[in-house]
């Protein structure tokens, strides 16, 4: 399994009801169905990915995240997962609110625009950064809402989103000590487990 999906699968409890936003080929849901008896649905818009999901018996629904999630009722899932998609949607802030309306918790992963390679390219070369984890040019990138870990955590604070857990890794999904000391500089991806504000939960 993809390294990032393995990290996520460890965070999911058996039998959970999971909604996977931008589920790709359905790898995570297929694994969770087999190994954790998870009842899940995935949203996807790429035809090839959708067919791959069907081949694996994943409940894939063709739905564009930018059209909103109004069709899912509140508290209808235990967990809403979104891997490396936050940076590609039109309104990440709105989507985040929707995710926590639908699910009690959510897991979000995204690439760090504050990584030292990005900083260095902008500072020394004066150009929009291109890195292994962000390979596109500025004009054709699907990543229209790039942010740093600090930016994201600020948004969470502003919206009262509770950060339950954070796990930061490098490009090879390893977690050397230096990353935990300076995550916003050396971290490539972060995994956030998020919850509703404590006050709202009671």
């Amino acid at each position: 399994m993809r390294a990032d999906l393995r990290i996520i699968s460890d965070l999911i409890s058996p039998g959970a009801r999971v909604l996977d936003l931008g589920c790709g080929t359905g790898e995570l849901l297929a694994w969770l169905q087999t190994h954790k008896q998870v009842n899940g649905y995935g949203l996807e818009i790429d035809p090839t990915n959708i067919t791959a999901c069907l081949a694996q018996g994943v409940n894939v629904l063709e739905q564009n995240l930018d059209d909103g999630l109004g069709n899912f009722s509140s508290d209808s899932f235990d967990l809403v997962v979104m891997t490396e998609t936050l940076q590609a949607v039109k309104r990440p802030d709105v989507l985040l609110g929707e995710m926590l309306r639908i699910g009690r918790e959510c897991i979000v992963t995204f690439p760090n625009f504050g990584h030292w390679r990005c900083r260095l390219q902008l500072m020394l070369r004066g150009r929009m950064p291109i890195a292994r984890h962000l390979p596109h040019a500025w004009y054709d990138t699907p990543n229209i809402r790039l942010c740093t870990f600090i930016d994201f955590e600020r948004l969470c604070r502003e919206r009262g989103v509770r950060i339950i857990e954070r796990f930061v890794v490098d490009a090879s999904h390893a977690n050397p000590p230096i990353i935990n000391r300076f995550p916003n500089v050396f971290g490539t991806y972060a995994f956030y487990r998020l919850g509703r504000p404590t006050s709202a939960a009671h």
């Binding site: 067919t51 999901c53 018996g57 629904l61 063709e62 739905q63 209808s76």
Partner: protein
Amino acid sequence: MNSHAADNSVGLVKPAIFRSSAPFTLQCGVTLPGFELVYETYGQLNPARSNAILICHALSGHHHAAGYHTPEDDKPGWWDSCIGPGKPIDTRRFFVVSLNNLGGCNGSTGPLSLNPSTGAFWGPDFPTVTVRDWVESQTLLANALGIRQFAAVIGGSLGGMQAMLWAMEHPERVRAAVLIATAARLSAQNIAFNEIARQAILSDPEFHGGRYREADSHPERGLSIARMVGHVTYLSGDGMHERFGRALKSGDRTGNNQVQFQVESYLQYQGRSFSRRFDANTYLLMTRALDLFDPAADAGDDLARAFAAAEARFLVIAFSSDWRFSAARSKEIVDALVAARKNVASAVIESPHGHDSFLLELPRYFDVLRTWLSRLADEVGTGTRALDAASG
């Protein structure tokens, strides 16, 4: 010259007749003393009897879904592109059952049959049939064929409604349901189109209150106009533009000389050929069944609750340019299935061909069907292996 001998054709097929002699009470309260359904089968039922697929037809469909009746037939069955060896509904793996519904005009008991209590044609007196009546009559056919559970019930449009109701009413008899270009209930606009079609038929002087057979006539004009209206709603604006544009069939743009646009000529042809092969009373009855379908109405207007008992997994397919049964209607079904915690997958196929898309061989559409059904076939075991074992 047809291709009945082609490798991917089910070849020559022969319709069979199922006779049910037990009294059959319809939803409207009328009891038929018995009925007949004409049907065809393709492929082999496996020893476990687990690989059967039921095909439910739409408004003007019938039992002849695949293959040819004679080597001289110009055209194969109406869904031949999808049913056959190696096709998405693979007859090497599935045993396919396709029937003409009760009230139809292709051989099953309907307005063209004799009413045993009067000895005359049923005609306009044939009782109102509903999607539920169709499903119940299909269960009797399934019993006769020794099929306890269908691997899948598949239908487009009105056929999708039958597949939906099968999963709701007979959960233990449906492993999977494929709902294509369908809706859980018709919109007011949709009923309105059906009403225009009905009025066209009813107002034809040749209709004779539905007793046209006795009057030795046929409401060809009315039926033809009904089909023309229907046909326009089955296409898309872009699709029609692409196909016909403003091309003229005859005359010129001055408006003189019997001007006729290509699209007019096409519609008239469609209307005419349909009116020759279809019965007006059946058309009235089928459109009424469409209008009346509304399983949520019996579940407090909650479609998710209507699906509560279903055990099947669902595949819901819509087409981007279909406005008669739009993708939004399919999404309502999907949302209800998710709310009811059922297994469901959905796809919206990009196509310029409107509602008619569901009858066409579109690469992505067939890819989705093939992938999903192939997984189902793996699960239920195939027909070929049983056959090999029997012959080996």
